[in-house]
């Protein structure tokens, strides 16, 4: 194999297969032939779309934590909780650590990830040099990816509601619907993002 300039190569992060770089067009995907990992997934106008979705997510997360989430009614007694109440349910003794963890997994990690995405993408979309520490910011955002569990919390809600539906009346607050939209947007935001393209734009502007 003739030596190829390193910038003209791409290596699958999962199986270490090396390829000569061929840029797929918008809508096409470059997939590792050995293990099937998607390597490059460009989209037209992805940057602007992701920023728009991210802004919507920021607003929804803040609103969904403040407004009432679920309320319960049984035999005259009632109780209403916000998402923050639910996350902080483990409040006695050593369980407080668990409270902080759940709050982080449901609210703060998803929020941090969209804020980091906005910080990294805005200069790229506006053809400006990358923001200070953009590479570290994007690396952090990628490291946090498995710890963003808003969608798992949503399914957890469904299970919990099935469990108590025959014991008490449950009503959905405004935050419930906001959270439902938010979960979809977080997934959309994550799927629009082509990591390779972001790293490429952070790189190009650094060296030139």
């Amino acid at each position: 194999m003739a030596p190829i300039p390193l910038d003209e190569m791409i290596v699958c992060p999962h199986c270490d297969a090396a390829y000569r770089l061929a840029r797929p067009g918008p809508g096409e995907r470059a997939v590792c032939q050995r293990c099937g990992t998607a390597l490059i997934t460009p989209r037209r106008k992805a940057g602007v779309q992701i920023i728009a979705v991210s802004l919507a997510v920021v607003i929804l997360i803040i609103a969904a934590t403040v407004f009432p989430f679920l309320s319960i009614n049984a035999a005259g007694a009632s109780n209403s909780v916000s998402i923050l109440d639910a996350a902080l349910a483990f409040s006695d003794g050593p369980l407080i650590a668990l409270s902080l963890t759940t709050a982080a997994l449901i609210i703060f990690v998803p929020l941090a990830r969209v804020l980091l995405a906005i910080y990294v993408l805005v200069p790229i979309v506006m053809d400006r040099p990358p923001a200070r520490g953009a590479a570290q910011a994007f690396r952090l955002s990628e490291a946090l990816r498995p710890w963003s569990m808003a969608e798992i919390f949503a399914i957890g809600c469904a299970v919990a509601l099935i469990k108590i539906s025959d014991l008490a009346d449950v009503t959905f607050g405004p935050a419930f619907w906001m959270f439902a939209v938010l979960v979809v947007l977080v997934v959309v935001q994550d799927n629009f993002l082509c990591r390779w393209s972001v790293w490429k734009s952070l790189d190009k502007t650094q060296t030139s």
Partner: protein, 216 residues
Amino acid sequence: MEIAGQNPDIISARDLGLVACNRCAKVWPAGTQTCARCGSRIVARDTKSLQRVWALWLVGLMCYVPANVYPMLRTRTLLSVQEDTIVGGAIELVHHGAIGIAIIILVASVVIPLAKFMAIAFLAISVTRVSTVSKHQRQRLYEVVEYIGRWSMIDIFVVAILSSLVQLNTLAAINPGRASLFFALSVIFTMLSAQAFDSRMIWDLQTKPEGSSAND
């Protein structure tokens, strides 16, 4: 999809004397320690990775025992106080006739965690010897474990929702038990264990020439 190297002989970066950043996929000459683009640490193969996998795996397994012994939920009603472990709660549901939900709970909090422990152990053992299971199947298994690992947290979220919502003064109250902390720790440590596994090792041993011995 268009990617060069259409020939079936796919060459790994290490055999080309190169090393790729696992975070941002930038290619560097072998021996590069830090990726100049994203700042990640680079290693051709993470040789210490299996030690970390086993250490985190063991901590996760150790947390899983008290997670099943201690009560997960403490339900107080007007007449009684009841403490349920994960399995106990599922059995209780069967007695009430809710067999469907009982099965979901058993699968989510017993079958999947145990399967995850076994899958990670199998992967970690399989890369140290010649495995009969194909590399594609093992890569698929690794992806499933990485994907499904996060979903075990669903139990913790159910407990969180139930115990924050069902607080009806004297009538009824649900509170989390000690098992919830251990269960969460078990899930977190198994996730870290799966993340520590360097999946590139799955493909390495298989690409060795046929005649070479397994212990070189």
